[in-house]
């Protein structure tokens, strides 16, 4: 896969940006923060209508047969407009797990629904700081799952979840139906991500992979999701950079635009550096799907995108002075999203470990 976007890919970027800018507004996003359990329904409808849910899935299962690069382009625009209900990443991760590791029956059963967006998927691997814990929180016995998963992104609305669990003596990757799972919405600082604690009790589940391959498979799914999330982070960081830049040329203090002060000017230039490094890493990672260095590339994308988004949102607020910390202006929507994306799909510590493991051949 090339690292230069072709015309078709550029059209995806332009079109998704246009659509998102027309349909997602800050005015709709702010109220979502005030209670848990709601999400941007318009965005999800748009994602389905536009075929984004089907984009990176095989044609045989109602997909569009495009890949990580195209989905990444959309995620970048979603990040810019802060649109993301969590589903695009979570659906994609769940679908990829089934596509890559499921049986024909499992694929036929789940993929068309995930592609159309009628079925919502979640990926639930993490235990606290451990994105892929040595001792998973769930246990699979026969075809039944038990245990509690905390802080599952999209967990409140998902129909199925791909989980990483303890199987008989070894880890497994499995897909569980959530209809009868007890869910508790989490009151979060980013309340549109549908974070929930899920209580599995004798919940039906089907195995996808077991043993050592299950861990590898889970890491691969996380990496795929991480690349999409990194695009979203890079998009958010880019938006913060532009907002900061626009403010710096209009806001005046001491008889000049604040952008004339080096403390402001250099900061925005530094953000530019971070954003471009993140973007380059994202493009590279998306183009390495299926190659042996994919995980390494995904980790690099994730690390630089997390740094870019956290820094850009921190600095953008600072550059705005007092107005930056108001509820109304909504810069905090980005600040919040920067943090929630930073811990979804594995925190910085996790990806740093993955990267160094790969580079040195030694586990932490």
């Amino acid at each position: 896969m090339s690292i230069l976007y072709d015309e078709g890919q550029q059209a995806i970027a332009t079109e998704s940006r246009r659509v998102l800018e027309a349909r997602v507004s800050k005015e709709e996003l702010l109220p979502l923060l005030e209670t848990s359990g709601r999400y941007h329904e318009g965005y999800w409808t748009t994602a389905k209508e536009q075929g984004w849910t089907a984009l990176a899935l095989p044609e045989a299962y109602s997909g569009l047969d495009l890949g990580l690069v195209e989905l990444g382009l959309i995620a970048h625009q979603a990040g810019r407009s802060l649109s993301g209900a969590p589903f695009l990443t979570s659906n994609f991760g769940a679908a990829k797990a089934i596509e890559l590791y499921g049986t024909e029956d499992q694929k036929a059963k789940w993929l068309p629904g995930l592609a159309s967006g009628e079925t919502i998927g979640a990926v639930a691997f993490a235990s606290g700081a451990n994105a892929l814990p040595a001792r998973p929180a769930l246990t699979l016995t026969g075809e039944r799952l038990d245990g509690v998963m905390t802080g599952v992104s999209a967990g409140l609305a998902a129909d199925i979840a791909v989980v990483f669990a303890n199987g008989p003596g070894m880890p497994v990757l499995a897909v569980a139906e959530l209809a009868d799972v007890k869910r508790t919405a989490i009151a979060s600082f980013d309340n549109s991500r549908l974070y929930a604690d899920l209580e599995f009790a004798d919940t039906p589940a089907e195995t996808l992979v077991t043993g050592g391959a299950a861990r590898e498979a889970a890491l691969h799914i996380l990496a795929l999701q991480a690349v999409i999330t990194a695009h979203e982070q890079a998009g958010g960081a880019e938006a913060m950079m532009e907002i900061a830049r626009d403010y710096a040329v209009t806001r005046r203090a001491f008889g000049q635009p604040i952008g004339a002060f080096q403390s402001i000017k250099h900061r925005i230039a530094e953000i530019y550096g971070l954003v471009e490094l993140a973007r380059a890493n994202c493009i590279h990672a998306a183009s390495r799907e299926g190659q042996s260095d994919f995980i390494t590339a995904a980790a690099a994308a994730r690390i630089s995108a997390t740094e870019a988004y956290d820094t850009a949102s921190r600095d953008c607020v600072q550059i705005h002075g007092g107005i930056g910390v108001t509820w109304e202006l909504g810069l905090h929507l980005h600040t919040r999203r920067a943090r929630s994306l930073a811990i979804e799909q594995g925190n910085l510590l996790f990806w740093e470990d993955v990267l160094v493991d790969r580079l040195t051949g030694e586990a932490a």
Binding site: G151, A187, F189, R252, G255, Q318, G322, V325, T335, S340
Partner: protein, 401 residues
């Protein structure tokens, strides 16, 4: 035991006795109105016990003690989560300025006593939409009106204006002279006709700052606290008033111990996170930063006790501590991973990492942004040249907007 140590022990014991009624636990779950009511009672209790206006002159109802006693008390007080912040601005700046510059001493004394007992609150009306860091860029104007003045314009970011009885205000009285020269300093009655207070909701969800609109607000010339056109000097005096306040090297966020506990309780790669090199490095660096600030403060106290003047390094506190609080809070959230999404908007910034993180930006802006603090250090302490200032010497009404 030195006199100061004896003072500290006595204050600590008194504060301890107040905890059940006014401490953190007692305030839990209170509405802001109820919390303020409790705060007023606490302030009165402090007054009655001789702990209000500790370093203020006795002629105004203060205790006539030294600055050290004041800081010592504040340091002890900070430990318990008492509701004292409603009076932070009021007793921190406007009232001391009133004592220094107010003309009618009987009236001043009455105000000071009421403020010290928590009955009246004062706010500071400096910042405006077009004048925050650039304090002399103010546009709210006062025009002569009979024997007094008439104020029109808008202030912004006025902390606690919605609870305030009075405020100190800087306004433009002459737009035809360079910007610093056309300002005058007054006090205003916040309940006067024409004053409208509108709360601003902040990122963390609370609304303790306000926009304040002045619409033909009439005040007498006896409200004036500076010569006409001499307001900037008094404004600067206001900002300089308490150079050494009780500082908090945690940047008013959680103590480092809480981070250490979190790192001990969190598992990373099958081991306690406290064993992870990256976490240990952050703890070490944070500790070094905090201990440096504490030592600066301790040395300043010792110098003051010895009758010397502390160095300007005290100004580093807010700059260094809040930035590092912001980053440490981010790391604390990271460290909780998928358990880190939770947010309780009533949680205390000093005990909850998420609350600390979401509110940290205000600390880097309010009371002088990082950038202006760095400018001050560079120019005033290190003697570096001033930025190019195209507005210098230009009459205010000729500065391009």
């Amino acid at each position: 035991m030195s006199d100061l140590e004896a003072y500290r022990a006595k204050a600590a014991a008194w504060l301890e006795s107040m905890v059940p009624t006014y401490g953190k636990a007692a305030r839990k779950g209170l509405s802001e109105a109820d919390d303020l009511a409790l705060a007023r009672k606490y302030q009165k209790a402090k007054f009655d016990a001789g702990y209000a206006g500790i370093n203020w002159p006795t002629e105004f109802g203060g205790q006539g003690k030294g600055h050290l006693e004041k800081v010592t008390f504040d340091t002890e007080e900070m430990k318990h989560g008492f509701p004292s912040f409603y009076f932070g601005i009021s007793l921190g700046m406007p009232i001391p300025v009133l004592m220094q510059f107010g003309e009618d001493k009987a009236w001043v004394k009455e105000r000071v006593l009421k403020a010290l007992q928590g009955e009246e609150i004062w706010c500071q009306l400096f910042s405006e939409p077009a004048g925050g860091s650039d304090l002399a860029g103010l546009r709210t104007k006062a025009e002569p009106d009979g024997n007094g003045w008439k104020i029109n314009g808008q202030k912004v970011w006025t902390s606690w204006a919605h609870y305030s009885d009075y405020g100190v205000i800087v306004v433009r009285t002459d737009p035809n002279v360079p910007k610093h020269k056309g300002l005058t300093y007054f006090w205003v009655d916040m309940k006067a006709p024409g004053v409208t207070v509108r709360p601003i909701k902040l990122v963390g969800g609370d609304s303790h700052v306000n926009e304040v609109f002045f619409d033909d607000v009439k005040i007498g010339d006896d409200h004036r606290m500076s010569p006409v056109g001499g307001g900037f000097a008094v404004a600067i005096a206001t900002l300089m008033i308490e150079r050494y306040v009780a500082t908090d090297s945690a940047g008013f966020g959680p103590h480092l111990d809480l981070f250490v506990e979190l790192a001990k309780d969190t598992e990373l790669n099958g081991k306690p996170a406290i064993e992870d090199g990256r976490i240990r490095q952050q703890i070490a660096r944070n500790y070094a930063m905090r201990s440096g600030l504490q030592s600066i403060t301790a040395r300043a106290m010792a110098m003051m006790q010895a009758g010397m003047t502390p160095g300007p390094e005290g100004s580093l506190n807010k700059l260094v501590a809040v930035r590092s609080r912001q980053k440490l809070s981010e790391l604390a959230i990271d460290l909780q991973g998928s358990d880190g999404f939770t947010y309780d908007d009533h949680a205390s910034q000093k005990e909850d990492w998420t609350s600390s993180w979401i509110n940290a930006p205000t600390g880097r802006i309010a009371g002088g942004s990082d950038e202006t603090l760095l400018n001050t250090i560079a120019e005033k302490i290190l003697g570096l040249p001033q930025d190019h200032r195209p507005d210098k010497g230009v009459p205010f009404n000729q500065i391009p907007a």
